[in-house]
């Protein structure tokens, strides 16, 4: 049976009608047309679908929509404006950290949550946390260089 869920996504409340077990990734991509969150495996093993729920990085592919009805969800679309990028996005462009870029939105969301929750982290702390996000093109060393810069800036604030 479908139900109507009032979801808080990127600071806006929106109604979605679907089965309560629907994985969040499909609600974001198909109901709300937020295509930045990617499908990668459906098992919570690659991180392409990572979004932030109440400040914590979660896999949206194995998160049923019923479980987030009281949470504040942030997706890649919600961290920048048309005039101002998030520092992680800026830094990734500066370092040209990415090739195909399919993994990037998930990596950005996990890194954002981690750096905000752990402002004095080392680059190896960030790398360990990002272990749940895969990149097949081999952009990891560039992405880490970009995140290291952001981590240092955040820590010095």
């Amino acid at each position: 049976m479908t139900e109507i869920f009032n979801l808080n996504i990127n600071g806006t409340n929106q109604d979605v009608e679907c089965d309560p077990d629907t994985p969040l990734v499909y609600v974001l991509r198909n109901d709300l047309k937020l295509k930045g969150t990617k499908f990668g495996c459906g098992d919570g093993l690659c991180g392409a679908c990572t979004v932030i729920s109440d400040g914590k990085a979660i896999f949206s592919c194995d998160t049923p929509v019923w479980s987030i009805k009281d949470k504040k969800i942030q997706t890649i679309e919600g961290i920048s404006t048309s005039s101002k990028l998030h520092p992680i996005q800026e830094s990734l462009i500066d370092e040209q950290g990415g090739q195909c870029g399919y993994c990037l939105s998930g990596i950005i969301m996990r890194a954002k949550a981690f750096i905000e929750n752990n402002p004095n982290s080392s680059i190896s702390d960030i790398a360990n946390d990002l272990d749940r996000n895969l990149c097949r093109c081999g952009s990891q060393s560039r992405i880490l260089r970009a995140l290291e810069k952001v981590g240092i800036i955040e820590a010095s604030k």
């Binding site: 089965d19 930045g36 679309e77 462009i93 090739q99 195909c100 939105s105 097949r136 093109c137 990891q140």
Partner: protein, 700 residues
């Protein structure tokens, strides 16, 4: 079928490449497609240079059969060497035609004119003439080859410098740029129900029970091809699982238990790719090795995807294929229609490292959509489809043998390669080569592929001829067709294993002769470009500094296909419980560089991907059935396993472009092995190099 046609066959005129629109933009066509490698940015940079315009003015359409430009297949690290060069000529011809028209209007010599961001200046003064003001008067239906005049190296201003990738701002902000993100009106979602293994076929399906499945709009069946169409995507996932339980499939025959053992023992027709000087007699061999690599998956992060719609007068296919025109021909052969009634349109996909399932899913979408005309249907492969139904990179065994004379010089080297075929791409009616075509009621079977001959770049035998000064050289291969798994091109093809064989043997010889591996290579290289990258990487990595007993360095070199970029790699490792990659340095000579950062990015990515293949990856089988179905059964390298990477370019602005996309793979793998030999004194000959292999070798 030539997979790399000359661009000027299909697109001879300037107008086939460029259109100046009145909003100050340039519409540019490309036959090569973005597969993550950054080609769109490099092409924009080349055209902007020759047109003398700002790169942001260019809107690029790439890989679209509705245009004329048939770029063949985007593969083989050839896009720069082939179409990049054609594009430079085409853009220069547009500039020449424009300047001719301007000089006619201004009654001046072309030499007095210059162009700045598309505006014409006469002796430095503005003229109100531009590509756009002239666009109606400018006849671009002129042969590129009659007007082209590319700039001399010293006239170039834009190329050779970093240009940020044009796609990255979209990708870091989550804009819908991928095929996966495309949504057409009234689009439905489909999933494919696959058999348990490749040669299984459908015995029966309980269709009555499928009628009771909630959310199933339509069940599609053609022979053993089965798919479900649903309104909601997540419903299609569940419905496909339910339908799978209602299917009975034939059992696949027993397959060999250990493919590597089978390949090693295989004795078939020997194809000799090269015999230079004398063949190497068995009794003369004083150094040899036999290396192997397991089957690999492409393992893109985003599983393959396509959207198709059978409109009234055409079939419209949206795809991330590397080869849109060949795919168009193969689809025409499957559906027995004129290829001109099929539009194949490229969109970016998740990273592509060779012939993956992107063509196959396009046929899947077209087959499914046929059942529900005039409605677009999107097929998204599952993670399991992606890993176990895309073509695999074949397992391989390469033997390298050498005769080294008393002066420490290699007089003879001989390679024997045994491998399933490496190229099974769709080309059209002659070889449809699309997965689901084999499963139809009237299957369209494709012939055994020909493993490309060495003088055409090679496939299993790619890079089987060392570039060192060795007077006698032999390269031979045996292609194995009776292993059951579908294999095709994956980054580097045979080069990965052959370079591993040659470059580990080089180190084994150097070590036996008590020679430094860098000096030993240099003493066998009279080519200054080889010397250039080896000396450069040695300097970059501080090679001459003695290993500290804690970390160890290994070096390797190759020139991809012996015709692409030169690449030398030094890997620094530490061995505790596992091999830890600390630093990797690389030096690359790609001739003229358009976008140096793009080259460095490709080499860095190649190093990390190769490290993953060398240390971790292997497809697991149970008989014919592929058991690598998710990221736990097919792990790849993770963030905390990657080394720091440092890449330096040896640039030659006056020399032709050389492709870099596959240059780092072989040298990285061999350099890891050579570092390990230094660390522990053991040579691991099987890839992936696992902890078990190391322990076993230490116990020997």
């Amino acid at each position: 079928m030539n997979m790399f046609p000359n661009s000027f066959i299909s697109a001879p005129n300037i107008a086939d490449w460029f259109k100046f629109t009145d909003n100050g933009k340039v519409e540019m066509i490309s036959g090569k497609v973005e597969i993550g490698q950054g080609i769109n940015t490099a092409f924009v940079q080349i055209a902007a240079e020759e047109l003398d315009i700002d790169p942001s003015r260019i809107d690029l359409t790439a890989g679209d059969t509705r245009t004329k430009l048939d770029g063949g297949c985007t593969s083989g690290s050839l896009s720069m060497q082939t179409e990049g060069l054609s594009l430079r000529k085409a853009a220069s011809a547009a500039r020449v035609v424009m300047l001719e028209k301007a000089s006619e209007l201004l009654q001046s010599n072309a030499g007095e004119l210059s162009i700045k961001d598309g505006e014409v200046f006469l002796n430095g003064n503005t003229t109100n003439i531009s590509y756009w003001s002239l666009s109606d008067a400018l006849d671009l239906n002129k042969k590129v080859e009659s007007y082209m005049n590319p700039k001399k190296p010293n006239e170039r201003k834009l190329v050779g410098k970093k240009l940020n990738r044009i796609d990255l701002p979209f990708k870091v902000t989550g804009k819908p740029i991928f095929i996966h993100d495309l949504e057409l009106d009234n689009m439905l979602h489909a999933r494919i129900v696959r058999p348990p293994s490749q040669s299984s076929r459908l015995i029966s399906i309980d269709k009555d029970s499928t009628l009771k499945i909630k959310g199933l709009i339509k069940l599609v069946q053609d022979g053993s091809f089965i798919a479900v169409i649903c309104k909601r995507e997540e419903v299609s996932v569940k419905v496909a699982e339910q339908v799978k339980k209602l299917c009975k499939w034939s059992k696949a025959p027993k397959a060999v238990a250990d493919p590597i053992v089978y390949i090693k023992n295989f004795n078939g027709e020997i194809q000799t790719g090269l015999l230079k000087g004398e063949a190497l007699n068995n009794d003369k061999i004083n150094f040899s090795t036999e290396v192997s690599r397991q089957y690999l998956c492409h393992a893109s992060i985003g599983p393959c995807c396509a959207i198709a719609c059978w409109n009234k007068n055409n079939l419209e296919v949206h795809t991330h294929s590397q080869s849109v025109f060949p795919l168009q021909r193969s689809l025409a052969a499957v559906f027995k229609v004129d290829e001109n009634t099929i539009d194949v349109i490229h969109h970016q996909g998740s990273g592509c490292y060779g012939h993956n399932g992107s063509d196959d899913v396009a046929l899947d979408a077209a087959l499914v959509a046929k059942a529900i005309p005039e409605i677009p249907v999107r097929v998204q492969w599952s993670r399991e489809d992606e890993l176990s139904w895309s073509p695999l990179a074949p397992a391989m065994v390469t033997q390298a043998s050498a005769y080294v004379n008393n002066d420490g010089k290699i007089e003879n080297m001989s390679l024997m390669i045994k491998s399933p075929p490496h190229v099974k791409r769709p080309v059209g009616a002659a070889a449809v080569n699309l997965l689901s075509a084999d499963y139809l009621l009237e299957p369209i079977l494709s012939p055994n592929p020909i493993d490309t001959a060495l003088d055409k770049g090679g496939a299993a035998d790619r890079n089987s001829v060392p570039l060192y000064d060795i007077p006698n050289l032999t390269s031979q291969k045996q292609i194995i067709y009776d292993l059951p798994w579908r294999t095709s091109a994956m980054r580097g093809l045979g080069a990965f294993v052959n370079v591993y064989a040659i470059e580990t043997l080089m180190d084994d010889i150097a070590s036996e002769l008590n020679l430094d591996p860098v000096q030993f290579r240099l003493s066998h290289s009279s080519d200054t470009r080889i010397q250039g990258v080896i000396e450069n990487v040695a300097k970059l990595s501080d090679w001459n500094k003695k290993d500290d007993g804690n970390t160890f360095k290994g070096i390797a070199f190759s020139r991809y296909k012996n015709s692409g970029a030169y690449c030398a790699v030094v890997v620094e490792i530490k061995v505790d419980e596992d091999i830890e990659l600390i630093n990797v340095w690389a030096s690359v000579d790609a001739g003229e560089c358009i976008n140096p950062d793009g080259i460095i990015n490709q080499i860095e990515g190649g190093i990390i991907q190769s490290a993953s293949c060398t240390l971790i990856e292997k497809v697991n089988f149970e008989n014919e059935e592929i058991q690598s179905k998710d990221w736990e059964t097919y792990p790849i390298i993770k963030f905390n396993q990657v080394p720091r990477t440092f890449v330096n370019i040896v640039s030659h602005p006056d020399l032709p472009f050389l492709g870099v996309g596959e240059a780092a793979h072989g040298p990285t793998a061999a350099a890891i092995s050579n570092a390990l030999r230094k660390a522990l004194g053991i040579r691991i000959k099987s890839i992936p190099i696992t902890r078990d292999d190391i322990v076993a070798a230490l116990n020997e």
